[in-house]
């Protein structure tokens, strides 16, 4: 499965990429919101993992763009240090499917991702 990860912190991004690659997914990475929006159009991922606070475009814009995209429904997992109720609610109202607050466990993220692709799990 192709997963787009949008996260401005390089080490967090690489960590998620490594975890998901080990799980057998194809991972596309993006360090800013504008690049992520472009990659949503170009590569049509099966799932998006996005931070909220990023340069150029926020995670909210990424959720909005992914939900407006015609064709397949792309599940979105938000991964953010912002745990305030209003931010979480806004993400869900815009169409996010899951919300993980930092600090997060990469192994927990891996399990949550697997829920979206039950038939494609690499043992």
């Amino acid at each position: 499965m192709t997963i787009l990860v949008a996260e401005d912190d390089m080490i967090t991004l690489k960590t998620i990429e490594l975890r998901l690659t080990k799980d057998g997914h194809k991972v596309i990475i993006s360090q800013d919101g504008r690049d992520a929006l472009k990659k949503i159009e170009d590569s049509s991922p099966d799932l998006i993992i996005t931070d909220i606070m990023m340069p150029f475009s926020s995670g909210f814009e990424i959720i909005g763009a992914a939900k407006k995209k015609e064709g397949k429904k792309i599940p979105i997992i938000v991964l953010s240090a912002m745990g305030q109720e209003n931010v979480v609610l806004e993400a869900f109202e815009l169409g996010a499917d899951d919300y993980i607050t930092k600090p997060f466990s990469p192994n927990e993220l891996s399990v949550r991702v697997k829920r979206y692709f039950p038939s494609a799990i690499k043992i």
Binding site: I11, L13, K14, T15, L18, K22, K102, S105
Partner: protein, 367 residues
């Protein structure tokens, strides 16, 4: 041309005017050179940081998952020649320390142990430890913080002696580090600390303890008798939060300590874990106390009192202070078998301040 400008040009010293322009141009030139040099420097720093980040990110992310397959395999982590060369640069070493700390704040779970191990493999613990001997307190505090976050228990002995340092930030970091290492056992610094523990630090310590399994409250009795008032207050908070019934007698003794904060915290404990004699104990010294304590006692009776305290509260209805009167009326409305109806008949409900007090209690109880 306006008159004042004409006067200015006719009277100004021409050479002085030229000199001013000259100085201004020189300053402008120097400023532009400074801005250019600073911009180049900033760009170079940013570029270096980006290059460092690209080199470090794979090493850290590889280390995070190493124990997935094999125990202790992080020891075999491949550190490239490039990283080895970069590690000779002290700025890079500090950069990688900062990155590891940042990652530890972002990630949770089993990966933390591997990050601690990577910190040691790269000998970064020695850099942080060296900071402990620095004369500047903020560098010393940073060193302790780094060792604490990166779980370097082997330096606990050196850190322990800094828990009683004269500089607040140094001792705060040292205390937090010990609690991170040992949980409740790390609180042994309370035996020797002579300086006050700030409210903020108390919250920080409680927050750290919140994530570990409660254990070892044996020293609480000793801490409740500490000559350091903040240690007593912190111990009372611990005893209240963790429901330590066995220190009840020591907490009662705290009511005799002069500090209002100690007494108020002791009251919080007694409200949460009252015994048969608690209400009588807290009103024992009532008449010698100040208003804040008196109000706290009357409020506490609302929660832990019984009909036995009704005569005491009835007397307080005749106190000179309106706040005491209102508090006593409120507690009576809870303790008296007739509740609010008692107030309505007993008080002069149509007179000031009883009218307002009665209305307030009725509204509060209805809410």
């Amino acid at each position: 041309m306006p008159g004042f400008l004409l006067t200015f040009f006719l009277t100004v010293d021409y050479y002085f005017f030229l000199n001013v322009i000259y100085v201004f141009l020189v300053l402008l030139f120097l400023l532009s050179i400074f801005i250019s040099v600073f911009t180049i420097y900033k760009r170079r720093v940013e570029r270096n940081k980006k290059l460092w980040q690209q080199s470090v990110a794979p090493v850290i992310s590889e280390a995070i998952f190493y124990n997935d397959e094999e125990e202790e395999r992080v020891d075999l982590l491949y550190i490239s020649y490039k990283i080895e060369m970069l590690l000779k640069n002290s700025r890079f070493r500090q950069y990688i320390i900062n990155e590891l700390i940042q990652v530890k704040k972002t990630l949770s779970g089993s990966s933390n142990l591997n990050l601690n191990r990577l910190f040691e493999i790269l000998d970064l613990d020695k850099d942080s430890f060296r900071k402990l001997n620095n004369m500047k307190w903020h560098i010393k505090a940073k060193g302790i913080q780094e060792l604490g976050i990166m779980g370097q228990i082997k330096y606990a002995k050196e850190i322990f002696w800094l828990t009683n340092n004269a500089k607040e930030h140094v001792r705060n970091e040292a205390q937090s580090a010990l609690v991170s290492f040992y949980g409740f056992s790390g609180l042994r610094f309370l035996d020797l600390t002579e300086y006050p523990i700030s409210q903020w630090q108390q919250i920080q310590l409680l927050n750290k303890l919140h994530h570990v399994k409660p254990a070892n409250f044996d020293a609480l009795q000793k801490w409740l008798q500490s000559p350091n008032e903040s240690v007593v207050i912190f111990s009372l908070k611990l005893a209240t939060f963790y429901n330590c019934y066995d220190v009840y007698t020591n907490v009662i003794k705290c009511l005799q300590i002069a500090s209002l904060q100690v007494k108020l915290n002791a009251l919080e404990y007694l409200k949460k874990m009252p015994q048969e004699d608690t209400s009588e104990q807290i009103i024992h010294h009532y008449s010698f106390e100040n208003k804040a304590y008196k109000l706290a006692v009357i409020h506490a009776l609302k929660d832990i009192g019984s009909e036995k305290q009704i005569p005491f509260l009835l007397k307080k209805l005749h106190a000179k202070d309106d706040d005491i009167k209102a508090a006593a009326a409120k507690s009576l409305s809870y303790l008296h078998p007739l509740g609010n109806a008692f107030l309505q008949t007993h008080l002069f409900a149509d007179e000031y301040p009883w009218q307002a007090i009665f209305l307030q209690i009725t509204n509060e109880r209805a809410a």
